[in-house]
């Protein structure tokens, strides 16, 4: 069976006064029906640009999708008309963003903004949309939903606004929800509430989720499959248990080593990854992590490794692993 979403060789660049930024470099992945796929990476690694490119939300100029295909429901989203992609956005594929405070229009009531997608995509009347909106707000556990619906965004707290965003995203029963760091701006106890809510809704509604985060902790409790991005490339992909039990790419290993030990008895030194991520102005000749990697061999500087399956279901883009069968 074909996957719900298939991204093939997606490549996005931005032109700036300093040159062309290679933000996403030939990324390919599938999302199965009902699956939670996580993308982990640090700032600037291309995880958000990947999601925005899929939805054709990259401002052009300066951004440009150079090549690639995004197959969803038998159609390539990158080749749809503007009207065609608009039918998909917020309808079959919905998004929630990092900062709920800036994702809503401050001069429209929450109800107005919630109803908009339903009137547009589901042909509801304003009255029907309002009734459905109240129902949705109840579903995301907003107290006194029928009163809150006429409030403006500034009257809600951050956690409550993120609930509103989730309600909005789910209003048209999407098959795929893209969640771009939806809990990063929230406090831990509120973050726990929101993750709990999304898990519960996923169980009830059964949509697939593409979850983007920099937090390995959040990913562990949530995703079924994980892919790691670095400098615009996917460098590792595996099932969540296999990945956490045995991360294989030196960058993934570095990320784990940089975390403080949970049961840390001794106040030992943290193992940091030396150096900083590369600038993305030049298309790298070798592996983009080679400059910071403790295991690099001559080949790493000459040829960029492609993602390859090194164990069942476990793909890595690292010469050390591909040639020598594992590092470290």
């Amino acid at each position: 069976m074909a996957p719900l979403l298939a991204v093939k060789d997606l490549t996005t660049r931005f032109s700036t006064t300093d040159g062309e930024v290679h933000a996403v470099n030939g990324v390919s992945f599938d999302v199965e029906d009902g699956q939670i796929l996580g993308i982990v990476g640090e700032s600037g690694c291309g995880k958000t640009v990947t999601a925005l490119s899929m939805m054709r939300l990259i401002p052009d100029p300066p951004g440009r999708i150079v090549r690639g295909e995004v197959w969803f429901g038998g159609r390539d989203l990158l080749r749809l008309s503007e009207e065609g992609i608009r039918q998909v956005r917020g309808n079959q594929i919905a998004m929630i963003f990092q900062s709920p405070m800036t994702s809503l229009n401050p001069v429209l009531t929450v109800g107005r903004q919630l109803g908009e997608a339903m009137e547009l995509h589901m042909g509801m009347t304003a009255k029907q949309a309002r009734a459905h909106s109240i129902e949705l707000l109840r579903m995301v556990h907003i107290p006194e939903a029928s009163a809150c619906i006429d409030d403006y965004p500034h009257q809600f707290s951050g956690g409550m606004l993120q609930r509103v965003m989730i309600a909005m995203a789910l209003s048209c029963h999407p098959q795929l929800l893209i969640a771009d760091e939806p809990t990063t701006a929230l406090d831990v106890t509120i973050q726990a509430q929101i993750i709990d809510l999304i898990k519960q809704l996923k169980r009830e509604l059964g949509m697939a989720i593409l979850w983007i985060t920099h937090d390995l902790g959040i990913m562990a409790g949530l995703a079924e499959r994980v892919q790691v991005m670095y400098a615009g490339f996917i460098v590792e992909r595996a099932d969540v248990r296999a990945f956490y039990a045995h991360p294989r790419h030196p960058y993934s290993q570095g990320l784990f080593a940089a975390l403080p030990q949970q049961n840390g008895k001794e106040r030992g030194k943290l193992t940091s990854i030396q150096g900083v991520p590369p600038d993305l102005f030049v298309s790298p000749q070798g592996c983009s992590f080679s400059a910071r990697c403790g295991y690099s061999i001559p080949r790493c500087l000459e040829e960029n490794p492609q993602l390859q399956e090194v164990a069942p279901g476990h793909e890595v883009a690292c010469w050390g692993d591909i040639i020598d069968g594992g590092i470290g």
Binding site: E42, V188, G217, L255, R267, L270, S272
Partner: protein, 327 residues
């Protein structure tokens, strides 16, 4: 090992209120935001005291009140036994040399129009210490100490990455050879791989110069790594304070328990087995804090007296302080 009888900084019933005013012509004082509402604590010489809590709980305001950047509404702050709250002018300036701060946002805390040398030497210039030439020499030394090339002295902040900027901020804090540094979320704006570099640097400097830290953060796992003792704050009050291991392994306050259980663990198997305490509702407004225990509106162990009587801040066993009726 830091000792409890060697106290460097003390807070005694410290309060910081922000007045709420209303009216166009005459500004009437109609209430207060109680950002810090009566906290008492000791910071021992040579230790790192972690201060954790969610946004708006008053942890940054408490830090600023210790440094007298925001004058407390009531209470005392003692540095080596001398009360800073009543101190003014020259005497206070002299004490301020001993206390420095490292800020959260390395993009906002460095003046973009100043060179690194100007930024790092500004405290020396302000306090009129050293000749210009000696200051230049000191800047090179400080940059070296924080792991930056002295050749960077004439560059501007925008030429540096977040981690490097944070190093510049640390060099500036070290310029006055302080005893005490408040680190206000120094790593929250940085990526994971860079966070570890900065935490390692802070730990090296602590050993090298015998520094005392107040480490303010919301990332509980990093606080566990760097702190000797940890204080948990909620709605302007300290709820629990204990040795690092005692607090993480045997938390007593229901809020501490909930906070720890909300931290995601990077291990899928542990996450599956884990019983989370998910708190209901949100933090009440500090302009109108609930009566009794400030946490009672969200507490899952509350009893009748919790909304009437404020729990006493007491030591339940050696060095383990808590404010809760149920402990």
């Amino acid at each position: 090992m830091p000792q409890k009888n060697d106290v460097l900084v003390e807070g005694r019933d410290l309060k910081v209120f922000f007045p709420i005013r209303r009216g166009v012509m005459v500004q009437r004082h109609i209430g207060d935001i109680k950002a810090v509402d009566g906290v008492t604590f000791d910071i021992w010489r040579g230790e790192a005291l972690g201060l954790v809590g969610e946004s708006g709980c008053g942890k940054s305001t408490m830090g600023r009140a210790i440094l007298q950047l925001r004058r407390p509404t009531a209470g005392e702050v003692l540095l080596d036994g001398e009360n800073l709250v009543t101190m003014r002018g020259q005497r206070l300036r002299r004490m301020r040399r001993r206390m420095q701060m490292i800020y959260q946002d390395p993009y906002a805390s460095l003046d973009p129009r100043m060179t690194v040398a100007d930024i790092v030497s500004e405290p020396l210039a302000v306090h009129g210490l050293l000749t210009r030439r000696a200051r230049r020499e000191r800047v090179r030394e400080l940059l070296n100490t924080v792991g930056l090339s002295p050749g960077f002295a004439h560059r501007y902040p925008h030429e540096f990455s977040g981690g490097q900027r944070q190093r510049i901020g640390i060099a500036r804090a070290l310029a006055m050879q302080p005893d005490f540094i408040i680190c206000d979320e120094p790593i929250s704006a940085l990526d994971v791989s860079i966070q570890a570099q900065i935490v390692n640097l802070l730990e090296e400097l602590q050993v090298k110069y015998g520094l005392t830290y107040l480490f303010i953060a919301h990332d509980l796992s990093m606080v566990r790594h760097i702190s000797d003792r940890v204080a948990v704050m909620y709605l302007g009050k300290i709820m629990e304070l204990a040795d690092r291991d005692a607090l993480y392994q045997n938390p007593l306050h229901p809020y501490t328990k909930a906070l720890l259980s909300a931290v995601p663990i990077p291990d899928p198997l542990a996450e599956e087995r884990r019983q989370r305490i998910i708190l209901k509702g949100e933090v009440p407004s500090p302009a109108n804090p609930p009566a009794g225990c400030p946490f009672h509106t969200r507490c899952y162990c509350r009893i009748d007296i919790c909304d009437q009587l404020e729990p006493v801040w007491r030591e339940v066993r050696g060095g383990h302080w808590v404010a809760c009726h149920r402990v």
